[in-house]
Amino acid sequence: MSIDMAQFHQVFFEESFEGLDIMESGLLNLSPGEPDSEAINSIFRAAHSIKGGSGTFGFTEISDFTHVMETLMDEMRDGRRQITQTAVNLLLGSVDCLREMLFAVKEGKAIDAERVAEHKHALDLEQKNSGSSLQDESLPAHELLSGPAHQSASKVIGWHIAFSPHADLLKTGNDPVRMFRELSVLGELEVTADFRGVPDFYQIDPEECHLSWNLILKGDIGRGPIDEAFAWVEDDCDLAIQPLYQAEDLSLSASANRQQQPATESIVQAVISKPVDSSTAVIKEKAPGDEAKNKGSTSIRVDTSKIDTLINMVGELVITQSMLSLIGEHFDMSKQDQLKNGLAQLERHTRELQESVMNIRMMPINSVFSRFSRLVHDLSNKLGKKIDLKLIGEHTEVDKTVVELISDPLVHLVRNSLDHGIEMPDERIAVGKPETGTVSLEAYHRGGNIVIEVSDDGKGLDKDKLRAKAIEKGLLEEDAILTDKQTFELIFMPGFSTAEQLTDISGRGVGMDVVRRNIQALGGNIEIISELGKGSTISIHLPLTLAILDGQSIAVGDETYIVPLGSIIESLHIKEERINRVADKGETFLLRSEYLPIIRMHEIFKVPNVKTTKLSEGLLVVVEGQGVRCGLFVDDLLGQQQVVIKSLEANYRRIEGVSGATILGDGSVALILDIPGLVRLANQ
C-alpha cells in the first residue's frame, strides 16, 4: 500500500519553519560560556524533528545538513563543547541556510548546493576543531581541509557499536535485524549477541527484547549513515558508537591537528561573515522565499479551547433553532411572545458565533515580533551599535491577515530606528545617555483598534532639518507654516530621506511613504511623535479585523451607503446661518470654532432623486479620515450594524471613494465609503 506522502508536506513545512523560529530565538538567547541546558535542549529538539521529518519525506539534503548541526549541538548539550559566540553565529547562519533549503524544497526548486556545502564544511570544521581539544575522538587533521565529502577519515578503519535496546523496543515496531541488515550494506559487519540479559524460560515475555549486541562494522564509513540506522531507536536503547583507528596514525593526527587550527578558524570565520551579509540582504531586498511567505500560509493553527467554545455555540444555536421550529409548527398569536424571545436568542447566538469564528482568525502578534530579535541582533552587530530590543504585549491577538501584512512595514520601521534613531555608543555617552540604546515594540488594543508602537530612545527627528530638507527637495513651500505634527509627517512624503549618508540598511528615499501606503491599504493609519535628542515613537493604528466593520448606514436619494463607524465623530442638523461659503462654491460650517468643509454626497456621487439639496433639511455627518475632518451631507441616517466587507475588486475594480461593498439584510449591495478617498475625490 502506498501512501501519498505529498499530502503531509504542507504540515511538515509548517512545522519545520516553526522549528527554525524556535531554534533561532533559542540561539539568540544563548549566551556564550553559560550553558543553559533547557535552552539547548529546545533548540536540539527542534533540529531533531526537522531531521526526522525530512528523513521521512526523503529530503536527504536537509536531513544530512540538520544532522551535522545536531551533532554540534549535541556536544554543547552534553557539556563537551564550550558555547562560543563563533559557534552560535555559525549555527544561526546554518539556520538561515536550512530555511533557504526548506523554501527551495517547498517551491520545488533546486537547493543551492554550493552554499549548503560551504555551511556544512564550516560546521564540520567547527565540530572537529574545538571538539577535538576537549575529547580524544579527534579525526586526522589532514582530512579537515579536504572538505566534507571525505569527512570520515580513511584512517578510521571501522566502528564499534554497543547496542543494548530497552525491553520494549520491539513494541515500538522497530526490528534490530532490519537495522543490522541496513548496516551490513555499509560494510563488513560482525554481530555478537549478548545473551546475559535473557531471563528464565518461565519468566520470559516474548514481546520484550532481552538481548543486546556488540557490532563491529569495518570499512571506510562515515558516522552519519550509522547514526541514521539507529535514528528511530535512539530513545529506546543504550547506544555507544566508537571509531576504530589504526594504532600508528593516532599520534600523527594529534600533532597535525594543532597546526591546522588557525587555518580552520579562518575558514569558519569566513563562512560566518557570509550569512550575516546575506541576512541583511534578505531584509533589504527580500529573500527568494519571501514571495511565498507574503502570500501567507493558507492553514492556521487554532487553540483547542477556541474550537470548544465554537462547538458550544453551535450547540446553543441548534437548540434555539429547534425551539423556533417547534413554535412555528403550531403557531397562533398567543405564542407571539415566545417567538420574539426565540428570535432574540437566535440573534444573540448568531452574533456570538460570528465573534468566535472571527476569533479563530486571531493570532498573537508574537509571530511577527519574535523575528525582530534576530534582525536587531544582526543589524546592531553590523552597525557597531549596542541595542536592546524590548517586546511588550506580544500576546496581543490580531487578525491573521493583519499579522501577515504588517510584518514588512514593521521591519522597515525597526530598521529605521536602528539605523537613524539610535546613536553610536560613544555619541550616546557624550550626551549622557546609557551606552546601550533601547528599541521597543509594543502592541495593545484600544477601542476597536490594535495599536503597534515602535519607539527608540535615539536622537529623534530634527524639525528644522526636516523642514529644510523638504524645501530643498521642492516638497514644501518656503514660507509654509506647519504644526509639529505636520512637520513630522513630512517623512511620509515620497522621495524624502534625511539620512546624510545613505546606508545599505535603510534610507534609500523610498520607504516611509510605502510604509504609510501599506498601512492605509490595511485600513489603518500611522503617526509619529518625536523629541529631538530623546527619541521617536511611531504608532500604527489598525483595525482588529479586515473582514467585519461596524458601520452606520446612511441614505442618499434612493441609495444606501455605509460609513465606517470609527470615522464618524458626530451627526447634526445644521442651521442655514452657520454655513459659510468660500468664493460662493466651497461650503464650510463652523463646528466648535473650527471651519469644516462640507462634502455633498449627492454631488460627488451624482446621486439622482435626492430628498433635498438644502443643507438645513438634511443631515451633516462629521467624519474624520487621515487627520482631515469634514461634514458629509446626506439625506438621513438609517441605522448601525456590523457589515461583512466584500471586495469590489474581486470581479470589478477599485472605485475612488469606496473601500468595499457589503450585502444588506434585503440582499441588495451597499457600498462602504472610504473617507480619505472621498476627501480626495471632493478636492478634484
Partner: protein, 170 residues
C-alpha cells in the same frame, strides 16, 4: 460488446468534433446578432435592480449580489453604442466568467435576448474586417454565418478585461 464499441465510436466522434468545432451561445442586441463561447457562460438570469456605482461610465450599470459575491453588471448595448434599452423583467443578464491572470472573474452583461446554441465549425470562422477607427473590432474574435445571418463571436476574456483589470494596478 456492440454497445461498448458504439460508445467508443460516439466518444471518438465527440472528440473529433470538439477539436474542429465549438459551441456558441448567440444573443441579440438591437438588430445585431452576437455569440459567446458557451463554456464561458455561467448562468442566465433575469434583470434585477442593481446598486449604482458612482463616477463610472454609464454602461457599467452597477453591482449585484450573486450568492454572496459582488458582481458588476455591464450593458452591452450601451457598451457598443447601440442606444439605450428599456429594462423589463424580460431583459436578460448573461453571467460570464473568464480567467484573467490567475483569477476567475465573473461579470453580468445585459443583452436584449438570448436566442440559440450554435455549433460552429472552426474553419468557417472569418476574421473580422478592419473598419479603421470608425468601428472598434477589438472584442470580436471572428464572424460566422448562421442561417444567412451574420453572427459576431465575442472574445469574453477581452470583454471582461476591458472593465478594469488594467486600471486596478494604478
Amino acid at each position: 460488446m456492440s454497445q461498448a464499441a458504439e460508445n467508443n465510436e460516439i466518444e471518438r466522434a465527440e472528440k473529433k468534433r470538439l477539436a474542429t468545432s465549438a459551441q456558441f451561445l448567440s444573443f441579440t442586441l438591437g438588430n445585431e446578432e452576437y455569440g459567446v463561447d458557451i463554456l464561458s457562460v455561467q448562468e442566465i438570469r433575469s434583470w434585477e435592480p442593481v446598486s449604482r456605482i458612482p463616477n463610472v461610465p454609464s454602461y457599467e450599470k452597477g453591482v449585484v449580489n450573486l450568492r454572496g459575491a459582488i458582481v458588476p453588471i455591464i450593458d452591452l448595448r450601451e457598451r457598443f453604442h447601440l442606444g439605450h434599452g428599456q429594462y423589463s423583467a424580460l431583459t436578460v443578464v448573461m453571467v460570464l466568467q473568464a480567467l484573467i491572470g490567475d483569477k476567475t472573474r465573473v461579470m453580468g452583461v445585459v443583452v436584449d435576448a438570448v436566442s440559440n446554441v450554435i455549433d460552429v465549425d472552426k474553419k468557417s470562422v472569418q476574421s473580422a474586417p478592419n473598419f479603421g477607427s470608425k468601428v472598434s473590432t477589438e472584442y470580436i474574435n471572428g464572424l460566422i454565418t448562421v442561417n444567412g445571418r451574420m453572427v459576431m463571436l465575442l472574445d469574453v476574456n477581452k470583454l471582461l478585461k476591458l472593465d478594469g483589470v488594467d486600471d486596478v494596478e494604478d
